[in-house]
Symmetry: C2
Amino acid sequence: MIQIAVMGHGVVGSGVVEVFQKNYKSIRRKIGDDVQITRILDLRDFPGCGYEDKFTKNFEDIVSDPQISIVAEVMGGLHPAFEFVKECLERGKSVVSSNKELVAQKGAELLELARCNHVNFFFEASVGGGIPIIRPLHQCLAANEIDEIAGILNGTTNFILTKMIREQMEFSHALALAQQLGYAERDPSADVQGLDACRKICILASLAFGRHVYPQDVPTQGIEGVEPQDVAYAEDWGGVIKLIGRAKRLENGKLDVCVGPMFLSGDSQLASVDDVFNGILVRGDATGDVVFYGKGAGKLPTASAVVADIIDAAKASDTCSTLYWRDTGEAIVEDAQTVSCARYVRLEGTDCAHWQRAQELLQVQKRLYRGGEPPEQRAYITHPLSGNAVSQAREQLGQMGIQMLSCMDVLDD
Amino acid sequence: MIQIAVMGHGVVGSGVVEVFQKNYKSIRRKIGDDVQITRILDLRDFPGCGYEDKFTKNFEDIVSDPQISIVAEVMGGLHPAFEFVKECLERGKSVVSSNKELVAQKGAELLELARCNHVNFFFEASVGGGIPIIRPLHQCLAANEIDEIAGILNGTTNFILTKMIREQMEFSHALALAQQLGYAERDPSADVQGLDACRKICILASLAFGRHVYPQDVPTQGIEGVEPQDVAYAEDWGGVIKLIGRAKRLENGKLDVCVGPMFLSGDSQLASVDDVFNGILVRGDATGDVVFYGKGAGKLPTASAVVADIIDAAKASDTCSTLYWRDTGEAIVEDAQTVSCARYVRLEGTDCAHWQRAQELLQVQKRLYRGGEPPEQRAYITHPLSGNAVSQAREQLGQMGIQMLSCMDVLDD
């Protein structure tokens, strides 16, 4: 019999037990062996819970139990999850995790440790909840060189932006509604500041390009600064604003990785990904664009991804060698100042005489319009501009009394 | 060194060689061993081809070569592909195939044979071209009970319908355009009659529900009968017409499987899958709706899926036990006459006095309108009706002089 421990009995952890119980028969058939969750680690008490006897507050009960061969880490946070996972791998247990912070910060180290100990470290649930993305990326698309990944990776911010687009809500009202509906946490900063999306694009980029991309190297912008006016300009342009995590292979071997609100053409498959849904576009050299869509969070979707990893870990005879990336110590993320792309900019200035010069500085491609636009505001789509060029233009415009109120990337088709 | 043979050097077969050569370094790294395509079976000559020395016209050169451990079958058609694949499996070679006809007709038998011989039979490329769907379905979604699958599985018909919807083309003109652009074959019947989509939904249903679903048991309707008027009525309803292959688990344990043009609400994620793209929705009990989108055909996308299977077969130490279904001999597909769903119907009748009775017979939910509608035509969306109820209504309406010109299922959300 295969014995499993679950570390953490919060939303995802209790979901893992629930999915396991509900679909036990088919899970057992797929594993081809008897299988049981025998231990659950949590510091809290769960009196009256149907499986109270399985709980422990002591990590040693899990790591020292030679019968337990697979551990699901669904605690979240970096510490002590990292220390616990490390020790489990060192003691020859496979670990499956839904913890995006852990994988984004410590992925290379934990994968190397798993490899050395001939066990597996799986993390399908860390990105996209129940949407299959980690395994398709490293397995089904294995014959491709991945050129680019772009995704709507955070359901909370996508819900907020959808409300701003469809109902012309202000950001603060949409956030309050998201909190009321339970989509946003009381402290929503990790979501709205783009940190959650950043961790996820780091995981996808590391896997697709084989080298560890750290969140701290990725320029990350949240959606707090997005205003209804920006939404209206996007509409005039024929598109929408979405919080996008993007990673793109550059010709010099480095990666353009960034997170921020971006302008998406209405034709983009990601443009119709609304509400709390996630959508992830993967561009392979052979397969072209492939898009994965579904609920990116939630108890049962995430738990089902954890359980799918458990099934795979139970069946694996050795380390899955293709789910792997290294930390070479070199900087892999290109300096954003040197990367060019078309931009959306919204400007404010009182001296009309300067607009012509502003358009030249910004290499304007198209002016945008919206209803009720005050004479002192203008918005444009530029030709591709480097980060440096934008900074310089911002400064020169400032000297002319023109303020750059918004600047967002335009996602290439 | 792992030696591979490719059977068939048509569009997909030459693509397999191309992808293999192009991404050789990363494929080798992923397999972790040296790997070569050493034999290619084709009855034609390819003078001047860069790898002319690998060709053979004799299947024996492949099946009797103990050095060859993996065979890619990309010939298409049932015979002799079936006999060749069977013999390869019996001789202990893993087989990967892009052949949907073969898998839809012989899947259970070949999977059983692979299992007995401790080798693998993979077929990611048989559905959805380069879109990962077979592996996510049996692996990533393994912790789910699948409740339903619905997909736009044929790019040719989706291109034709997109032209009918966007440009109000007639079916015959759109088909001619598709042929001109190389999207439709000279004999387009397998596509436009729904046979290709039928084979693919059979493969997905067999895998998701564990029992072989045969194409001949699946009621299949093509798109030849779809008229611009139907497209216009769908627009009034707020939706579009798509050729859908659908498989749904019923409470009695049987499956509702069918292929035909259906009405889709504009909110459906499948409604925005246009042109030659495919989209497949999988509804799991834990994960909810997950959608996979991409190019469902084409040389390199399909070839890359074949090569991904080759990589997996090269790494596998034994049979992949979860990619499996059985033929129990029992009928698994429910009689379509007993299955209920809402329908779109378009009627023609000269005696206005009968419309009220027609609406009662059809349990009408909503009348649809379109520009230029002649007084003798009407279209409705009905409440859920069984196939039997539709047949009876059709007969009774006929007696009243009302003809049912169109009838299509409305896909549930």
